[in-house]
Structures are given as structure tokens and as C-alpha cells.
């Protein structure tokens, strides 16, 4: 079945379109809406966005490949991003990453076999004063301890 927005997201799209003088400006927000619904931005979504905004699929694909946060492949149910950049690294980010890899049994960039968690490293997430930190789906977890990370990962694996 071809991709289509849910009625609720369709209403959001109408609100978004009113904010800008051009349709093209809705590209990023619409891609976010689609990814929320589909989990990743596949070619069907690219075609859909292009069609809705009167753009070429090539333009939309160009946008998707430029930005880190659009998943071009299916990902796990939960997204774990561990910040690896210097201020976090100075406070143990590499150890956090190693610990997560060991606990989940996967490397960064991979998804657990049960499809629950995708683990990735992130570049600076603006939480340097409360390092080390990780983002889990929409939430920030700061001043991470080993125990705290274990609790977070256990919750995700049990979900």
C-alpha cells in the first residue's frame, strides 16, 4: 500500500504549510512527520513527500541524505544515541559506549536482533555541562552513571 499520512498528522501538515510562503519549506517538517509514522524514510516516503509538496523526488532524496536524523533504513523500536564528542569524552563517553555495546551485545550503528534497540554515537548534543549523556528516543539522560545506564537499557530491553 502506498504511504499516506494519518489524519492527525495530515492536520499537522496543514498547520505547517501555513507557516511558510513556499511549499518547499515544509520539506523538513513533513519528513519528520513521515518518519514518526513509518520509522524510516524509504523511497515510498520520498515519492510521497515530493508529490505532496510539488517537488522532484531527487530534491527530496537529496535532503534526506544530507541530514543525519532521517533514517534511510529501518531502525529499532528505540533509538539510543551516546554523545562521543570531546566534552563528553573527557567525562567518560568512551566507557559509556563500550558499556552499552557490551550490555546490548551489538556495535554502534547496529540494532539488537529482537529489533528493540538501535545504538549509535552522536556528535555533541549540547549537554556538555552534564556529561556524559545519552539520548533515548526523545529524552535526554545526563550525568550518566553505570547504574543509570543499566536501568535505562534494561527498561528498553523489557519494553
Amino acid at each position: 500500500m502506498p504511504f499516506a499520512l494519518s489524519p492527525e498528522r495530515e492536520r499537522k501538515l496543514q498547520e505547517i504549510l501555513e507557516r511558510y510562503p513556499t511549499k518547499m519549506a515544509a520539506t523538513l517538517p513533513l519528513l519528520h512527520l513521515c518518519q514518526e509514522q513509518a520509522g524510516f524514510v524509504g523511497d515510498d516516503v520520498v515519492e510521497y513527500v515530493a508529490h505532496r509538496l510539488d517537488l522532484s523526488p531527487a530534491h527530496v532524496k537529496g535532503v534526506v541524505t544530507f541530514y543525519t536524523l532521517y533514517n534511510q533504513e529501518p531502525v529499532g523500536k528505540h533509538q539510543v544515541w551516546v554523545c562521543r564528542t570531546l566534552p563528553c569524552a573527557l567525562r567518560g563517553a568512551y566507557q559509556v559506549i563500550e558499556h552499552c555495546e557490551k550490555r546490548l551485545g551489538i556495535h554502534c550503528g547496529e540494532t539488537t536482533p529482537d529489533g528493540k534497540v538501535t545504538l549509535r554515537t552522536a556528535e555533541c548534543l549540547a549537554s556538555c555541562g552534564t556529561a556524559p549523556m545519552m539520548q533515548v528516543d526523545r529524552d535526554y539522560h545526563e550525568n550518566l552513571t553505570r547504574e543509570g545506564v543499566d536501568q535505562i537499557l534494561n527498561r528498553l530491553l523489557e519494553s
Binding site: 507557516r19 511558510y20 510562503p21 513556499t22 518547499m24 519549506a25 515544509a26 520539506t27 523538513l28 517538517p29 519528513l31 519528520h32 509538496l53 517537488l55 530534491h59 537529496g62 535532503v63 544530507f66 541530514y67 543525519t68 536524523l69 532521517y70 544515541w81 562521543r84 564528542t85 570531546l86 566534552p87 569524552a89 573527557l90 567525562r91 567518560g92 568512551y94 566507557q95 559509556v96 552522536a122 556528535e123 555533541c124 548534543l125 549540547a126 549537554s127 556538555c128 555541562g129 552534564t130 556529561a131 556524559p132 539520548q135 526523545r138 529524552d139 535526554y140 552513571t145 553505570r146
Partner: protein, 465 residues
């Protein structure tokens, strides 16, 4: 001398400090003497001042852009066309905070979003705009939610909309979400991103004040710059500017300073412009972890060249602005846009990353080069290839596989990027690289000679537990 203030941070830590009720309460305290309750300033400006008066007042506040470049805000506003022609004017607020070591804007959005909205109202009026887009990086979901809630509250009160405060000057503020590209914090790239394109920087000229977002006159200001506007206008721009220790050299007011890295307490605080690095590390950050000495400091985000405590100010000529600090450590110079430029680095975003003795500087550089390699947009060859080459070569040094010749290569690659790219990302990569190579030459050479090994290197002071 350090001077704590509490204007922008007065809602921090208050119950629901992000709500309109908290923002409008005029809870005067010692550190925000003269601070006004929320939205009174915007009301006064819209109902009592002309556009020209707003821009003049903005110039007097001496607010240097808080995003890193330090351009005077009022001067930027004055670049906008004096009358609004066929093309509407826009305000774009840069909240794409992503510079490693920078963590100040997020606190504003989460804990004092109404200051951002009120700042947008005054700025829109001053530059002749009806619409403001606040560009927030997508990862900051809480920030976006707080801003959006603040916008709704302000709209319900009639502070935004067709006739804000009864004035026939419609103003709307929208939150625009990025999608995880650091480069979108560059102003022209941000404009492309709002338009729905790849976030690749544009050639300048034309400057945004002539042809910005959607081809229309646009002012791009950092979020903290905009959030400081209500405070400045509330107490009077001159009084605001004079709060700063560096008021005399056109760097006025108060701003948010952050401390992170190997300090005991990572925090964001509001201070009068002009504390020294030593004051930030010891008075604000509580000193270095493990009571170690400082190896070096990145003064304002990873793109600003590192400073070592052994460096001294060289300004023997009495006419030089830095002369009062001649012969002193750079750690005792007040942190301002021009003072930091004077000591060969940049103030940047005012968030200081402290690196303790015992840390491996080569690894630090490799970590940062990995960041730049990942975030280069790829448009300009010197930056796309250069950032990756710098990272590869530094990794090779770390692995003990590099030759002395490759240390020279690092210089050549960095110099080959400088000045050869469309935007300042190139310099932002090359400048810190050059600073690390030059200031830690001995450590780089130790790796080449096999006297230093990656296995013994560390980045942390206290083991993570």
C-alpha cells in the same frame, strides 16, 4: 572581578519557571536589580517607540552576537532596509546549538522560553519583520516543546498575532526543527534548511539583510542574543552595557557562561561580561577534577583555538587594549570578543571546556577532527577532503604509525583549508587543528618516536562509574 547577575536566569530553578506566570512575576532579587516582569518591555517598545529608535537603542546596548562571531547586534539590525518594500522582512533565530562544548541556549529554551519569545517580538518590530523562525536542532525535543508552549501562551494573551499589544504590526513566531546537521548553525546554511533544501552554506554577498530566507531581507541572530534584548531594553541600553567589565571596548551587558570538561561542577551561569578563565574554572566550576593542574582550555566551543596556562599576553605598547595585562597569563584576561581575539583565539560561545593535566592532547584533537569530518557538508573540496585527511592523519599519529613528515602534512592540510571555503566551517576546523599541533608539538613528536602509546593515553581524570 567576577560579577554574578540573574536576569535571564531568574526563572531557572523556579517551579514551572518556563510558564508565562513565572515569567511575568516581577521577582526582583539582588542579582537582577531593575529587572522587569515579563512582556512589559515588549509592550513599551511596540506602543512607544519607532523602528529607528529601537535600532538605535539596540546599538547602544553593545550586545555582541552570542553565537560565536561576536558581531554587534544593533549594527546587524541596522543593515535591514529602512522601509519594507515588496519583499517581507524575516527574523531567523539560531538555536541550532551544536558546537562541541556549548550548552547555554538549551537552558534558555527549557527554563526561560518566554524571554526568547519576547526578544523575538522586539527584534521583529525593530527590523520590520512580521515573522520569526526559531531554528532549533531536532534533538532538543524538550526545548521545542517549551518554546511552542510559550508561543501559545503569548498568542493567547494577545502578545503575538495580528495586533500585539494593540499595535497594528502583526507578529508571529514559529519553531522550525532541524534534522541533525551541525552546519545548519551557519547562517546561510540555516536559511537553505528553512527553505527545505540541503543545508549547504551560500556564497556571500548577497548578505542575508539583502537576500536571506525566501530571497527576502533577513536578520539572523543567536537565540541568546535575542533573549538578552528584553533585559537590555528594560533597564535602558546604556545601563545594560555598563554592567559589563568591558563596556569601554564595546562589549556590553551580561551573558551566559558555561564551564564543562574536567571541572568539578559543570554549569551555566549568567555573569557580567568579562570574567577570566581562572575565575570560571575555580570560582564557577569549583576547580579541576582531582585537583590537577590545567593542561589547556578551549575557550568557547571546539572551533576556538586552545589556550595553555603558560601563555602570556604580549602587548608592550601602551596603546594596545590588552596592555594592562601585558606579561600576565592569558587565563587572567577578561573574556570578551576583542580580548580573546587579542590573545590569538576567539571568545566563541563563552562555554569553556577545561582539560586537565594528564589528558592526551593528540587524542583530544583526533576526537574533534572526527567531529569535523562527520559534520563537513561536503560542498567545498578543501573542507570535505581536508577534514577527513586531518582526522586520518591524527589517528595515524595516535596509532604510532605516522612519520615526522606527516606532522608537517597536518600543517599543510589545515593551511590548505583556511580561507578556501565558502563558509567559516573551514576555519573552524583548521584553527583548532593548527593550535593543537603547534601548542602540543612535543606530544605529537613523542608519538612519532614511539615514546607515547595510545594504550597508555587517557581522556578522563576520574574513571567513569
Amino acid at each position: 572581578m567576577i560579577k554574578r547577575t540573574d536576569y535571564l536566569t531568574r526563572t531557572y530553578g523556579k517551579p514551572e519557571g518556563w510558564s508565562l506566570r513565572a515569567y511575568e512575576a516581577n521577582e526582583a532579587n539582588e542579582a537582577n536589580e531593575g529587572g522587569l516582569g515579563g512582556y512589559q518591555v515588549a509592550r513599551r517598545v511596540l506602543t512607544g517607540m519607532t523602528r529607528e529608535q529601537v535600532v538605535d537603542e539596540a546599538k547602544k546596548a553593545n550586545i555582541r552576537g552570542r553565537g560565536g562571531a561576536g558581531f554587534p547586534m544593533g549594527v546587524k539590525w541596522s543593515f535591514m532596509p529602512k522601509t519594507v518594500g515588496a519583499k517581507p522582512h524575516y527574523l531567523v533565530v539560531n538555536a541550532d546549538e551544536g558546537e562541541p562544548g556549548t550548552h547555554k541556549d538549551r537552558t534558555l529554551m527549557e527554563l526561560n522560553p518566554h524571554a526568547c519569545v519576547e526578544g523575538c517580538i522586539i527584534a521583529c518590530y525593530g527590523i520590520g519583520a512580521h515573522i520569526a523562525y526559531i531554528y532549533v536542532r531536532d534533538e532538543l525535543h524538550l526545548s521545542k516543546a517549551r518554546l511552542e508552549a510559550a508561543i501559545l501562551e503569548a498568542r493567547a494573551k494577545g502578545y503575538l498575532g495580528d495586533t500585539p499589544f494593540g499595535k497594528d504590526w502583526p507578529i508571529e513566531v514559529h519553531v522550525h526543527s532541524g534534522a541533525g546537521a551541525y552546519i545548519c548553525g551557519e547562517e546561510t546554511s540555516m536559511l537553505n534548511s528553512i527553505e527545505g533544501r540541503r543545508g549547504e552554506p551560500r556564497m556571500k554577498p548577497p548578505f542575508p539583510a539583502n537576500a536571506g530566507v525566501f530571497g527576502c531581507p533577513t536578520t539572523v541572530n543567536n537565540l541568546e542574543t535575542i533573549a538578552a534584548v528584553p533585559t537590555a531594553f528594560g533597564m535602558g541600553a546604556e545601563a545594560f552595557s555598563k554592567l559589563s567589565i568591558l563596556h569601554g571596548i564595546g562589549d556590553g551587558g551580561v551573558r551566559l557562561y558555561g564551564v564543562n570538561g574536567h571541572v568539578k561542577k559543570g554549569v551555566v551561569v549568567e555573569l557580567a561580561v568579562g570574567p577570566t578563565l581562572n575565575e570560571l574554572i575555580y570560582d564557577i566550576g569549583g576547580g579541576v577534577q582531582g585537583d590537577r593542574g590545567v593542561l589547556c582550555v578551549i575557550p568557547g566551543g571546539s572551533s576556538t583555538p586552545v589556550l595553555r596556562p603558560e601563555e602570556t599576553v604580549n602587548a608592550p605598547d601602551e596603546r594596545l587594549p590588552l596592555h594592562p595585562w601585558h606579561g600576565k597569563s592569558v587565563f587572567d584576561v577578561p573574556l570578551g570578543v576583542d580580548t580573546m581575539r587579542g590573545v590569538g583565539t576567539m571568545l566563541g560561545t563563552c562555554c569553556v571546556t577545561v582539560i586537565a593535566q594528564g589528558t592526551d592532547p593528540v587524542w583530544c584533537m583526533q576526537n574533534l577532527m572526527q567531529f569535523y569530518r562527520h559534520e563537513s557538508c561536503g560542498q567545498c573540496t578543501p573542507c570535505r577532503e581536508g577534514s577527513a585527511w586531518l582526522e586520518r592523519t591524527t589517528s595515524k599519529v595516535l596509532d604510532g604509525k605516522a612519520s615526522i613528515g606527516e606532522l608537517h602534512d597536518l600543517h599543510d592540510i589545515a593551511n590548505g583549508i583556511m580561507g578556501n571555503t565558502i563558509c567559516a566551517f573551514g576555519e573552524g576546523t583548521a584553527m583548532p587543528a593548527l593550535a593543537f599541533i603547534q601548542k602540543f608539538r612535543a606530544e605529537f613528536e613523542q608519538y612519532v618516536r614511539g615514546e607515547r602509546k595510545r594504550a597508555d593515553a587517557t581522556l578522563t581524570v576520574e574513571p567513569w562509574s
